[in-house]
């Protein structure tokens, strides 16, 4: 099996379900990693490939919903498909609202699982690309000098050059020079583009 194809994580405390889903997904040419609790999944080193998580809601200690929150905190970005033996509408609404791709009541068919996985993996692709884009922007930001970074932040907030100058206590000319360099290093052709880069990198609270 390929070592860079999409990987499907399965977290379910029922060993039999882990084994069955693993067989089913491998038969569908996916790489699979199964875990019987949330802690093991969190301890796993996640390769930066397309992936999704098939997650049981009822788990010992850390349940599915809590794991979803912890993943956001730790920056583990992989779309989630919830599975549960308690088919509850309010629960599924809660899950989808929190960003889950789908919510499958047990038992689910191969077809419905594969549909959800296809959706999740394309989402994963978008997320990964976004991640990669952000990483690239952050690399560019790293090349800025402290003063340039400061000017970048002011510009990103939509401040005029003269306002920045008076705030920094320097001449308008100096600010203009800094700003030119920021544009160059960030590879932005317009101010709008620069602001958008700042937003993507989380520089300004938009």
């Amino acid at each position: 099996m390929s070592t860079h194809g999409p990987i499907i994580y399965v977290v379910d405390d029922d060993v039999s379900i882990c084994k069955a889903l693993s067989l089913l997904l491998k038969a569908n040419k996916f790489r699979v990693a199964t875990f019987t609790n949330a802690e093991d999944f969190l301890g796993f080193k996640h390769p930066k490939v397309q992936s999704c998580l098939v997650l049981d809601i009822r788990l010992p200690n850390i349940n599915g919903f809590v794991l979803q929150e912890v993943m956001v905190q730790r920056g583990i970005i992989t779309p989630i498909i919830f599975i549960t033996g308690y088919g509850d509408i309010s629960m599924s609404v809660k899950a989808i609202k929190a960003g889950a791709i789908d919510f499958l009541p047990k038992p689910f068919t191969e077809k419905s699982l594969l549909n959800a996985i296809t959706l999740a993996l394309s989402e994963s692709k978008v997320l990964n690309r976004k991640q990669a884009g952000i990483a690239k922007i952050k690399q560019r930001i790293d090349t800025l000098s402290p003063r340039e970074l400061e000017v970048f932040q002011f510009v990103a907030q939509g401040m005029m050059n003269k306002n920045i100058a008076s705030k920094r206590g320097t001449s308008l000319q100096t600010i203009k020079v800094h700003r030119g360099r920021v544009m160059q290093k960030m590879q932005a052709k317009t101010v709008t583009e620069l602001i958008s880069l700042a937003q993507k990198a989380g520089i300004t609270p938009s």
């Binding site: 039999s16 379900i17 067989l23 033996g85 308690y86 609202k97 009541p105 047990k106 038992p107």
Partner: protein
Amino acid sequence: MKNKIIRKPRQTRVILPEKPKGPLLNIRIRNNLEEKVRQQTDELKIREGQLKLGADREKLGADREKIAEEQIHIRTKAMESTLDGIFIIDAKKADFPIIYANPSFFNLTGYSKSEVMGKSYFLLYGFDANLRIVEEIKQTLHQGKSFHGEMLNFKKNGEKYWCLLRIAPVRNAKGIITHYVGIKTDTSLMKQRDSEIEEQREELLHVTRVGKLAEFVSSLAHEISQPLTAILSYAQAAQRMLKDREPQLREILQYIINDDQRAAEVIRRLRSLLKKNKPTFETLDINTLTNDTVTLIMPHITAKNKVIRLELDSNLITIQGDRIQLQQVLLNLISNSLEAMEDSDSRELLIRTSLKDADTILVQVKDSGCGIPEENKPKLFAHFFTSKPDGLGMGLSISRSIVEAHGGHLEAENNPDRGATFYFTIPIHMKSDR
């Protein structure tokens, strides 16, 4: 003759001035006279004493009469003032005629005085009367015993009312029954209140039963859906692996898949059938809710010879909650405590409400029973866990899910001395669901 005269003291004066007839005679006469005077004086003294005694007696009799009259007056007034219907039946006549009835009796039955007096008591029961009871009353009275019973009666206008009837025989000095005295009390209001309480209790029990069943089915559905999921995935994986080979095996796998889904469908339908009733949130006063719940379970508590002590904080703020569900929780905790105290000589069960902090109400149910064994603590709130021989193991797990649905927590701990305390919190401002 003389004797006669002496007995009549007024005539003695006529005798006294009798003239002496000679010296000897004189002396004799004088002696006689002195003797007589002495006698008469003594007699007079006795007579006077007798007279005085007679006057006293007369006075005493008059006083007694007055007191007796007063007492009769008070008793009559009392009988006329009481809200109970009182009547007296002449026992010497076979048809039980009423010879006295107080005003409340007329109010109660709706009959006027002229319709009642001299008529048979049992005629008043009308045609709707339960003849078996009428016969029972007659039989009891014939045996010279008192009758005591509650029954449905009808007023003159046909209106129904519940009546507590007591009839007792009245005997004369020789022990012969001369009258029957009866008291009728209208118990309709009490009866209505009792039936309201009974209705509420039934409703709560029903909800509890349905809740238990729903929780049971839900848990069962989960337990079964796990292996069904695995079976389905195994079969579909095998099908995938076989691809175009072994068509017969692939067919068998398909049968497995179909039947797996059939089982899943059964569970789905069962679950939708017992879908949990959505809690209906209303503004609630925890103290009122506690009082109501205690009223419901009171007969049970009294029957077990236990007492409930309530310590309700009067400064509590109302909360938003489902009345029936929270009553269910409280009822469950109280029942558990009673069971824990079953074999205990201690009687008291304490329910306390208080403010845990500005935003949280705390409700504690403290018993003095057997306490929670250390090894049971981790499983206490788990589905199907029970320490009772006939328990389902659903009560505490349902209670916890109800309390959590209200944004609170349900916990338990053993008391330092004896028994256990179960307590739950309810936030005053319910956090909105995400």
